[in-house]
Symmetry: C2
Subunit: 366 residues, 2 copies
DNA sequence: TTGAAAGCGCTAACAT
DNA sequence: ATGTTAGCGCTTTCAA
């Protein structure tokens, strides 16, 4: 490996001169010196060792990214956007990790990042306990959290970027109501993250506003969590069964996200219910996969590229020493882009009419 | 930040003693010394700086992973498996990058990894030109390449792990043939990677073996490449149109991968063709999303966890100085796990029978 | 305008 | 059994 020493020797200058050109301090430099150094760099194919530099400066162009699961298409979509911006605009690379929403994995990831000198992290977590994150901040990290609004009145050291989950769910629900649905379901995996409970609030608010809160219910999948995985099919089926067997069966369901909506539609099909004839489904995310389903999924699109940009900028922006404490203002909430109308929503079936589905084989009743 | 010096001072020993316990050289050490050091480490919450260590040892517990696109669910699935093994078995973290299959992005990623001291890389690329990779190997990296078999007879410095693409496509095609199909299509995005051409060979071989090679054709999407993206819907539609309008319309199609199969089924629907009544589709990958489609996709499952393990082991296994040159043996080909029969394959429709589809609005003819 | 030198935090001979 | 010390490759005062 060629070092700065080699370059200095080759150019007949000192290492500090080479270092100066590496860092753009060439204003006071004689043109031919600069030229000699640059030539030597080219000749020797010299690449400065970022590690050595970082040991000195305490800076490394690496951005940590923590996601619940890389295998979940929505997170990998967000990750791709984050990567593109971090790379193109700031020259940062991504160190990524899946946490499966466990705080010990999160904590150990932070430990490692710290040890590697990474000082900028984006966390998609929604874990209720932010203590290990705040600890990292105290140790000098800049962290921005996704999908988890700042706790009100509690000034936090970490910045928050989040879609307006309340509004997204409200929009989805309103759409169903506009189509005439009065018996509504909100389908979610179990485990109450802040983003999920905000979606539920939006769902309920829309129902209430339409005066049909009595017909609006929340269904969750039971104790499955790693739904970025193949289990999504099982989760969808379990949920479909619950919905199919509910006393006054819902005719419209809002899914907590697109992936669950896809799983749910598959499950519904297995129980013998047709979408949208028997039950309408709307998703939240606007992931490109939702355009591939049959029927194509109607969904609320989230502004992923914009949120990704906001996160990267906040994570990489140099903090002016003491600005950190002024908290409160450090939250950005992004309204959903729009509702994409496709094929999974129709008016509710006539009561007892021709659209009545065959009775599914129930195994479970909520 | 607490350093090894602080620990040494706190424990009343020298830094080398601390270093020794950090590196497990505690056999010759007096028990109480060890205890004091360990206590000090705990007290001060000391985490050794991996950067400083690496500057000394030239080792950093980071694994580089290059994928065409993180947003492609198949790659993010593979990435998740790789991450899990690298982390759990070797304590390595992942530095990930999307290359969009361009060699300058690949090259710049290698540059950066090198500068960061990363010496182990897994590349999913299939670019025909491996020169920039071999260059990285010469500079001391261990790289393993996925989905790109070693060029025969040409000893390579890099290890190759790949599914048996020929066999996977052959299996898929054979399945269609077994159902009675004689007019077959292979649907792929354009851009000839080695894995794609091997799949095509497998497709053709199966057709030939059944004596129906005259009815077997390859369709490609035209000049679209970044199909990890939303464009998959357009690609699927373009391909569906080609297939629908082909002179003797194929009744069975093998898709180059599951994602394309999903896009194709969506496209087919738009052209008015029904799967599997009018045309049967089989995918390659066995991705969990294929279980969610309607109809559920019949697909050839690839042994992703096994391949991921093989890649990580090869990438992180210490190379014995000169073992590198003995090439040839450094290739592992994984046969497909099995064919997962689901709903997207049926016998071909009767000629001119009731299954005949409405004429789609053609805009393009292959 | 350029060079000498002191570290950044850690490891690993080599001493003791 | 433990301590001393010389770097790893770079940045950055401070001198010249």
């Amino acid at each position: 490996m060629t070092t700065i020493q080699d370059v200095a020797r080759h150019a007949g200058v000192s290492v500090s001169t080479v270092s100066n050109v590496l860092n753009g301090r060439t204003d006071q430099m004689r043109a031919d010196t600069l030229a000699r150094v640059e030539h030597a760099i080219k000749m020797l194919q010299f690449r400065p060792n970022k590690l050595a530099r970082q040991l000195k400066t305490g800076q490394t162009p690496l951005l940590g990214l923590l996601v619940p699961s890389m295998a979940n298409p929505m997170y990998s979509y967000i990750a791709r956007e984050i990567e593109a911006i971090a790379q193109e605009r700031f020259g940062y690379r991504l160190v990524i990790g899946s946490t499966h929403r466990t705080s010990d994995r999160e904590a150990s990831f932070f430990e490692d990042l710290l040890a590697h000198g990474v000082r900028h992290v984006i966390v998609i977590s929604s874990l209720s306990d932010e203590r290990h994150i705040e600890l990292a901040v105290e140790r000098g990290m800049t962290v921005v959290s996704y999908d988890r609004p700042a706790t009100l009145g509690q000034p936090s050291l970490i910045e928050h970027v989040t879609p307006d989950n309340f509004e997204a769910a409200r929009l989805a629900t309103e759409h169903l109501i506009r189509y005439g649905h009065t018996r509504l379901a909100f389908a979610t995996v179990s485990g109450m993250t802040m983003s999920r409970s905000n979606k539920i609030r939006g769902f309920l608010a829309a129902a209430e506003h339409a005066g049909i809160q009595a017909g609006a219910h929340v269904f969750d999948s039971g104790p499955l969590e790693d739904y970025g995985d193949s289990v999504i099919a099982e989760v969808g089926y379990a949920l479909a069964l619950q919905i199919a067997n509910a006393p006054a069966r819902p005719t419209g369901v809002v899914a907590v996200n697109d992936l669950l909506a896809l799983g749910l539609m598959a499950g519904l099909r297995e129980t013998g219910l047709q979408v949208p004839r028997d039950v309408s489904v709307v998703g939240i995310d606007g992931h490109f996969l939702s355009a591939l389903s049959n029927p194509m999924l109607t969904t609320v699109e989230l502004p992923v590229p914009e949120m990704a940009r906001a996160m990267v900028e906040r994570a990489l922006r140099r903090r002016d020493a003491n600005t950190e404490v002024e908290a409160t203002g450090c939250e950005a909430i992004f309204p959903p882009t729009r509702l994409i109308e496709r094929e999974s929503v129709a008016p509710p079936p006539q009561e007892g009419g021709p659209g009545a589905p065959q009775q599914p084989s129930a195994t479970r009743n909520p």
